[in-house]
Structures are given as structure tokens and as C-alpha cells.
């Protein structure tokens, strides 16, 4: 019992600070999570960490569910809940505070100007995010080609349901693999 609580506390102490340090995406965070889980706490072996990482990328979700999996591996459901809350709660509280302040100035001239000034940057960051994911994808040129094709499909045919597109992409690649295309 005491050991369980100690493990949950350790999970919190690892992931809660990382929550506030994860500025601009996962790369730096990933390295630190690996270091903490494999070397410092021995929660997973190197091999297990690689597997958990692959699973976390395959699952849907807004960000990394890697912390959830490490918590689950170490301490079951309580561990998974603890690690998830520790990773997402601190950053969420911070952005909630910012959103409240921002909403208070809605309608003022400078609110409008800042909003319009940030818009083209946000569009650029979304496109850059797509490029960054393509870069780390292990699938190579086929994934690039498929990503460009699906971009064109969505733009030309806005009513296309993204889930249909996901199924088509997965089906096509699975088929190509079965036939031995690559």
C-alpha cells in the first residue's frame, strides 16, 4: 500500500514538472521521459519503452498518451490516471488562466489587432506541424505522397469524411504491404 502511494507520487513528480516544460512539442519531452522511465526509475526497459512509444503514436489523441502507458505499466489503472492528470493538468490550468484574461479584453481594438496579427502565424505553425510529423514518420516517400494526395482530396472535396480517408489510407498501405510492394 505504502509502496503504491510512493509509486504514484513518483509518477506525479516526474510528469507534473514536464507538463510546464513541454513548450513547442514533444521532441525534448520525449528524451526526458525516456531518461526518467528507463534510467532513473527503471519503470520500463529500453525495449518496452520503444513499444509503448509505438502504441502511443498509433492511438488517437490530442498529444502524447505515452505518460498514460508508462503509468499503466508501473501501477495499473491508478498509475495511468495519475500520470495522465500529472501531464495535462498543470499546463491546462495555465492556459485556462490565459484564456480568461484574453476573453476579458475581447472587443477592444488591440485585442482585434493582436488576433489578426497572430492568425497568419497560426496557419504557418499548423503547416509546419504537418511537416514535422512527416519528418519523423518511418514510412518514407510513400507516406509523403499519400499525405499530399489526401491534402488535395480534402481541399477538392470538403464533404469527404476524414474517417473514410483514414480508412482508405490504412487499407491502401495494408494492402500494399500484403502484396509486398514495399
Amino acid at each position: 500500500m505504502l509502496d503504491d502511494i510512493r509509486t504514484l507520487l513518483a509518477l506525479t513528480l516526474v510528469f507534473a514538472p514536464l507538463s510546464l516544460l513541454s513548450i513547442g512539442g514533444g521532441a525534448a519531452l520525449l528524451a526526458e521521459i525516456e531518461h526518467q522511465s528507463v534510467s532513473v526509475h527503471a519503470w520500463t526497459t529500453q525495449r518496452e519503452f520503444a513499444d509503448l512509444f509505438a502504441i502511443s503514436r498509433a492511438a488517437p489523441g490530442p498529444g502524447t498518451m505515452l505518460s498514460t502507458l508508462i503509468g499503466w505499466k508501473v501501477a495499473g489503472l491508478p498509475g495511468a490516471l495519475t500520470a495522465t492528470v500529472a501531464l495535462y493538468l498543470p499546463s491546462s490550468l495555465l492556459v485556462y488562466g490565459a484564456a480568461r484574461l484574453w476573453g476579458r479584453w475581447r472587443g477592444s481594438v488591440w485585442h482585434t489587432v493582436v488576433e489578426r496579427g497572430l492568425a497568419p502565424i497560426a496557419a504557418g505553425l499548423i503547416l509546419a506541424g504537418g511537416i514535422a510529423v512527416l519528418r519523423v514518420s518511418p514510412g518514407g516517400p510513400a507516406v509523403w505522397a499519400a499525405a499530399i494526395a489526401s491534402t488535395a482530396l480534402i481541399l477538392c472535396w470538403p464533404r469527404l469524411h476524414p474517417l473514410a480517408l483514414f480508412a482508405a489510407g490504412g487499407g491502401l498501405f495494408g494492402l500494399a504491404d500484403a502484396v509486398g510492394l514495399w
Partner: protein
């Protein structure tokens, strides 16, 4: 919330907590490959018209500048705009609870299926489609801003520095933002 009403550029109607929870629960399960912003744009802005383009974009920019997952950050802001603290909690919980269950189910199943190479290929295909969704969202928002050359140049510079040259995002945004906001101020007059 009182201070939000009356002065708002686009009045935001308060949504029921159940509707917010349902919308973001769907969103969480649909966002493969980190495409949460793309899905949120499609579901909340285009389909339901709960918030407008400019609110979405400023939220998306703040979401990326703050620590944490940009998808979660955007969700918290939109939930807050829709129904204050309760909206933020409902949207955040809804977004994460689906993926939480799925990832644990997957981990249980993966131990048996990991030898199948087709599994990796299928996941690559799904990822490619998800990346396409992200690109399409970005491009749609560029089109929306095509009215003048300045904003387009800002978008291109951001893509070049962050996406192509892989410069760290925070310093790039801190340099580009004042210029872009300045442009917005000048073009307003």
C-alpha cells in the same frame, strides 16, 4: 462570463455541457496523428459554428505558445469560451477520456499483434491521411487570409523557419509576431 457578453465581436452563445462533452469526446477519438486542431476546426468552426475563424486562429496560436499539448490547450480555451470553467473542464475531460481508454486497450492487444508487419503499414497509412488533414486545415486558413500580401508572407516565413529550417518555434514566433501585429495595425487604418 458577464464581461464577455455585449462587447464581443461575435457573440458566443453558451452551449450545454452535454453537447460540449459529446463534441469533444468525438474529437478526441478522431484525432489521429496529432490532428486535433484540424478536427476541431472542422467540427466546431465549420460544422457547428460555435466559434468563428479569428477566435479559432488566435486560440490555435496561443495553444502552441503555451506549454502542453496544443490540442488540449486549444480545447481548454474553446471550452472556456463556450461555457466558462465548466465548459473547459467538460471539454478537456471529454477530449482525453476516449484516447485514454483506447491506448490502454491497444497496449493490451499489442503484445499479441506486434509481429504482424501489416499492422505497421496500416498505421503509416492512417498517419499519412491524418497529416493530409492537418495540411488542408493550414491551407484553408491561408486562403482565408489571402486578402493582402503581408499576412501571406508571415505565413510563408513561419513555415520556412519552423517547418523547413527547424528553428526553435518560440524565438521565431517572438520575432515574427510583433511584425505581423504591426502589419495588422497598419492595414486597419
Amino acid at each position: 462570463m458577464a464581461e464577455l457578453e455585449g462587447t464581443a465581436v461575435t457573440p458566443i452563445a453558451r452551449k450545454g455541457l452535454t453537447a460540449i462533452f459529446a463534441a469533444f469526446f468525438r474529437l478526441g477519438l478522431m484525432s489521429f496523428g496529432g490532428g486535433t486542431a484540424g478536427w476541431l476546426y472542422r467540427e466546431i468552426v465549420e460544422r457547428r459554428h460555435w466559434i468563428d475563424d479569428s477566435a479559432f486562429l488566435s486560440g490555435a496560436a496561443l495553444a502552441r505558445l503555451f506549454p502542453g499539448s496544443s490540442g488540449v490547450n486549444l480545447t481548454i480555451q474553446v471550452g472556456q469560451a463556450l461555457r466558462g470553467a465548466h465548459g473547459a473542464v467538460a471539454a478537456g475531460l471529454a477530449l482525453l477520456s476516449g484516447p485514454f481508454a483506447v491506448v490502454i486497450l491497444l497496449a493490451t492487444a499489442y503484445a499479441r499483434a506486434r509481429q504482424i508487419s501489416a499492422l505497421h503499414a496500416i498505421l503509416d497509412g492512417v498517419a499519412a491521411a491524418a497529416i493530409g488533414l492537418t495540411f488542408a486545415t493550414g491551407l484553408k486558413l491561408v486562403q482565408f487570409r489571402l486578402t493582402s500580401v503581408g499576412p501571406l508572407a508571415v505565413t510563408l516565413v513561419t513555415v520556412l523557419c519552423v517547418g523547413v529550417l527547424r528553428w526553435p518555434m518560440i524565438p521565431v514566433v517572438l520575432c515574427v509576431a510583433p511584425i505581423s501585429i504591426g502589419l495588422a495595425l497598419v492595414s486597419k487604418k
